[in-house]
């Protein structure tokens, strides 16, 4: 997943005429990324829910001296795109002429696999079919005669079990040795549609995929093709095509797209029946029961509470408590910082420079201590817990449990995926909003992510501080943030135009998370954190240092004091935390953490400041991603709403706590 955080994460690959392009295509959650990793040796995030990959990734592979460029794509159910990530995949086939499509399919779901194969065949693209997850198919009593399937399709078919690396050698051999062939599947869509396919095709230019497939997309009413049509055809021709489409639609009565899809499914079903044997299932396995329990109206709640409790114990108590105590207080406080202070004072005689490194706003004593002593242990424990949740297949089940709650905010349960991912990192979560169907959903989700979803590092610090206070403090914080989330979400659902989208989501099987994937993923995320967060911590600290030295910090604190001191009832120094919070949310929280440790915050002030900083602006990276996905104007608008909402919520909470003299 963290591969996807930055555009520049997709790097370190070579293109050019010496490299044959292979597009990795398949239904969501069939293991494309894991196959990609096994072939290229590059790790692409692997999880157990549809929509892990929302961007394209490239990697090189050399087989028998032949060089290939492998392209990993977001999963698709149909090559007539229904969402932004599906569109990315179709556009690759349309614009990048791959010399081979490596289709990865789920062996236990052959019919859906073949639905895509049929479309690839219609596009005229050469295919090698990899039937992955043979083990899961076998456990369900499903056996596929790959030899026969090979004959029927006329292309190479390889069975694999990716996590065990089974069949990967055969797959590599197939890629390097086989002459790529287009699957031999011909479908007749009935005389009316066939007639219109021909008529539409006659207006189309030669391109990377067959005219027939393009014509079918147009007749099916594929709006996402507009851009391509505008770029390749005259306006008058496009008008003509639209007229033909409407004419065809009128003649067949039911939506053409549905008819086409049904005919394809029928064909896929016929082929499946020829090559698949299914013996009666053995009794349900443990994972099936866990899977069902976790979405049950009653047991599901228990599972949810159990998961939350586990998270709290592991991240809050173990990570933010025990590990932070050890790293920050013992390692940094007792050994590293005194050592650095001594060394720097010895080698740098200038007081100003000394303070820059080891002073109150020192790059080492503040930035590094915060980054490595406080945040790193918290994020790492969170990433471990989170990877386990991702790989188990629990997250989509959480969507089932929370659909109704999300309906209040005008979203469907599907939005739980980006929101929960936001608890990991808001930046990547904004990108994951791509899996949502409508622009409206993406706007609301992006907004709520920026407003009320704390990222793992921030959450860890907050949990650590609150659990040090009392359970009541934690409850007040949780209640306030969730209250604001629901209330503002409710308002947003009324204001943002558009209809609420319907909830539907594919639920993957519950799987035992593999230790190696959890390790690799956590390590990748921890490294990412160090690479991205530490420099920003340094920069933020340096700016604070300069502001302090120039005496501007005091001025800023004076300017903001009516709000910070007056409305929120916090010490003026908290302004610093809010300032650095814009570089990194967690850094802001860490600032509060340090203040609380130094006894500068009363319990009420701690709770108020934490609620405010949770709701306060997203960090810089998050904001940049918002601009990339939603545009500058929309992002600024969101920011303009978020700041007053955060202050207002903090102010109201402060007033309530003080007026009613609530002890924390």
């Amino acid at each position: 997943m963290h591969r996807h955080r930055h555009r520049h994460r997709d790097k370190g690959y070579k293109t050019g005429s010496g490299y044959q392009r292979i597009a990795l295509i398949g239904n969501p959650n069939v293991g494309k990324s894991i196959i990609f990793g096994l072939l290229t040796g590059k790790y692409a995030a692997v999880s157990n829910y549809p929509g892990t990959t929302v961007e394209v990734f490239h990697g090189n592979i050399t087989l028998d001296g032949k060089k290939f460029l492998l392209v990993d794509t977001p999963g698709v159910n149909s090559l007539i795109p229904m969402s932004e990530d599906e569109r990315v995949t179709r556009d690759i086939l349309l614009s990048e002429k791959p010399s081979l499509v490596l289709q990865v399919g789920d062996a236990k779901n052959l019919k859906r696999t073949l639905l895509l194969t049929i479309q690839l065949a219609e596009m005229g693209l050469p295919v090698i079919l990899d039937l992955n997850m043979e083990d899961e198919a076998r456990d369900r009593g499903i056996i596929i005669d790959t030899k026969k399937l090979k004959e029927v399709l006329g292309v190479e078919v390889v069975g694999t079990i990716a996590p065990e690396r089974k069949g990967i050698k055969t797959l590599k051999a197939a890629i390097s040795q086989q002459i790529p062939k287009v699957p031999q599947i011909k479908i007749h869509y009935g005389s009316v549609i066939e007639d219109y396919i021909e008529r539409v095709a006659s207006y189309l230019p030669e391109t990377n995929i067959s005219k027939r497939s393009l014509a079918l997309m147009i007749l099916s009413g594929d709006e996402s093709l507009r851009g391509w049509l505008n770029a390749n055809l005259e306006e008058a021709t496009i008008q003509k095509l639209e007229d033909l489409r409407d004419e065809c639609q009128k003649k067949v009565k039911r939506p053409v797209g549905l008819i086409v899809n049904e005919i394809r499914f029928k064909k896929a079903g016929e082929i499946t029946n020829m090559v698949m044997k299914k013996s009666p299932q053995k009794g349900g396995s443990l994972s099936v029961y866990i899977g069902r329990a976790s979405m049950h109206p009653f047991w599901g709640l228990l599972v949810l509470l159990l998961v939350l409790y586990g998270l709290y114990e592991f991240v809050g108590v173990f990570g933010a408590g025990i590990l932070v105590d050890f790293l920050e207080e013992t390692i940094f406080g007792k050994y590293l910082n005194p050592m650095f202070i001594k060394t720097i004072e010895a080698i740098i005689p200038v007081k100003f420079l000394q303070e820059m490194f080891v002073g109150q706003y020192g790059l080492i004593t503040m930035a590094l201590t915060y980054a490595i002593g406080i945040i790193l242990p918290i994020t790492t424990t969170f990433f471990i817990a989170f990877s386990i949740l991702e790989d188990s297949g629990y997250l989509p089940r959480l969507a089932i449990m929370s659909n109704r709650v999300f309906n209040i905010m005008g979203l469907s349960g599907k939005a739980v995926l980006p929101m929960v991912l936001g608890l990991g990192c808001g930046t990547m979560a904004v990108m994951t909003t791509r899996i949502l169907e409508s622009r409206r959903d993406r706007i609301i989700a992006t907004f709520l992510l920026a407003l009320a979803v704390p990222c793992s590092a921030q959450l860890g610090v907050i949990l650590g501080m609150l659990s040090a206070l009392s359970a009541k403090a934690l409850a007040i914080w949780l209640f306030s943030v969730l209250g604001v989330l629901l209330f503002v979400g409710y308002l947003a659902s009324k204001i943002v135009p558009g209809e609420q989208s319907e909830f539907f989501l594919e639920i993957p099987p519950i799987r035992m998370p593999s230790i190696s994937n959890v390790t690799v993923k956590t390590a990748g995320r921890a490294v990412w954190y160090l690479k991205e967060a530490v420099p920003l911590f340094m920069l933020g600290t340096f700016i604070l240092f300069v502001l302090d030295k120039l005496k501007i910090l005091g001025v800023i604190e004076k300017i903001t004091s009516p709000v910070v001191v007056g409305v929120l009832g916090l010490p003026a120094k908290t302004t610093e935390a809010f300032l650095i919070g814009f570089f990194r949310r967690d850094y802001g929280a860490a600032g509060l953490f340090a203040m609380a440790q130094d006894g500068l915050l009363t319990p009420v002030q701690t709770v108020v400041s934490l609620v405010t900083i949770t709701l306060f602006v997203p960090c810089l990276a998050h904001f940049l991603m918002m601009i990339k996905e939603r545009g500058l104007r929309m992002s600024l608008t969101m920011l303009a709403i978020i700041i007053p909402v955060a202050v207002l919520a903090g102010g109201v909470l402060n007033w309530i706590l003080r007026t009613f003299d609530i002890n924390i």
Binding site: E262, P297, E502, F503
Partner: protein
């Protein structure tokens, strides 16, 4: 001799009316229109004024002639059905409204009024009954008018499970076959294998609907579940 109430006993419903020849002479077609109009007006008001029907269909003379044919009675400028007329009016209205349901729900058409009007004249009682059963004996037409019950509906009310029901009404744990889908987002559902003909199993209804199609597990909200019509296996 004539009824003004709408409800009829089962015996009456079962009795076949003497239908106009289905070759549909112009006269019988007009009679059907009159009967249907009278039926519709009677749904809303106690008395059916001749003037209202004339305003709708014109041709007062032909309407009056129907009195001679024993289909209606005209008294004090108000129209009443004879037994024969009421029977035919119920039949024709029923066929019309069933056709509307069929076109709207199953065939997903929006512009079906005219077709429904023609359809009502040409289908046989057997087809009518089959359609009614197929649709699960719907009580109302797409516009909310009550569909007169047929014999099949009465039987169904007594013992038979509806052949077609929405996923919303299917019992948890039951297997069923998808017949048609009118749900929003049906193109997306279709690409995941939820197409007419697919065999499904309903795993749960709360907090969201969960359906298993082959090896695919799909969660859907209630709005979608409502629009998935299935036949229990």
């Amino acid at each position: 001799m004539w009824n003004s109430g709408q409800e009829a006993s089962v015996e009456e419903i079962g009795k076949p009316c003497r239908r106009a020849a289905r070759s549909s002479t112009e006269e019988s077609l007009f009679e059907d229109e009159v009967l249907e109009t009278v039926w519709e007006i009677r749904e809303k008001s106690e008395a059916v004024r001749l003037a209202d029907v004339v305003e709708e269909l014109g041709n007062e003379e032909s309407i009056r002639r129907m009195q001679a044919n024993g289909l209606i009675m005209i008294q004090d400028d108000k129209i009443y059905f004879t037994e024969e007329g009421e029977c035919r009016a119920r039949d024709i209205t029923r066929r019309h409204l069933l056709a509307e349901r069929l076109f709207a729900d199953v065939l997903d058409l929006t512009d079906y009024e005219e077709d429904a009007c023609r359809f009502e004249h040409v289908i046989s009682p057997e087809v009518e009954e089959a359609i009614c059963t197929f649709l699960g004996h719907p009580p109302l037409c797409p516009h909310g008018r009550p569909i007169p019950k047929g014999k099949c509906c009465e039987l169904y009310a007594k013992k038979v499970q509806p052949l077609v029901q929405s996923l919303k009404d299917l019992e948890v744990g039951k297997q069923a076959k998808v017949l048609f889908i009118t749900a929003p987002a049906m193109d997306r559902l279709a690409s995941m294998g939820l197409v007419p003909g697919a065999s499904i199993r309903l795993q749960q209804k709360k907090p969201s609907y969960v359906v298993e199609i082959d090896e695919t597990t799909l969660a859907v909200g209630e709005d979608i579940a409502k629009g998935i019509y299935v036949k229990q296996a």
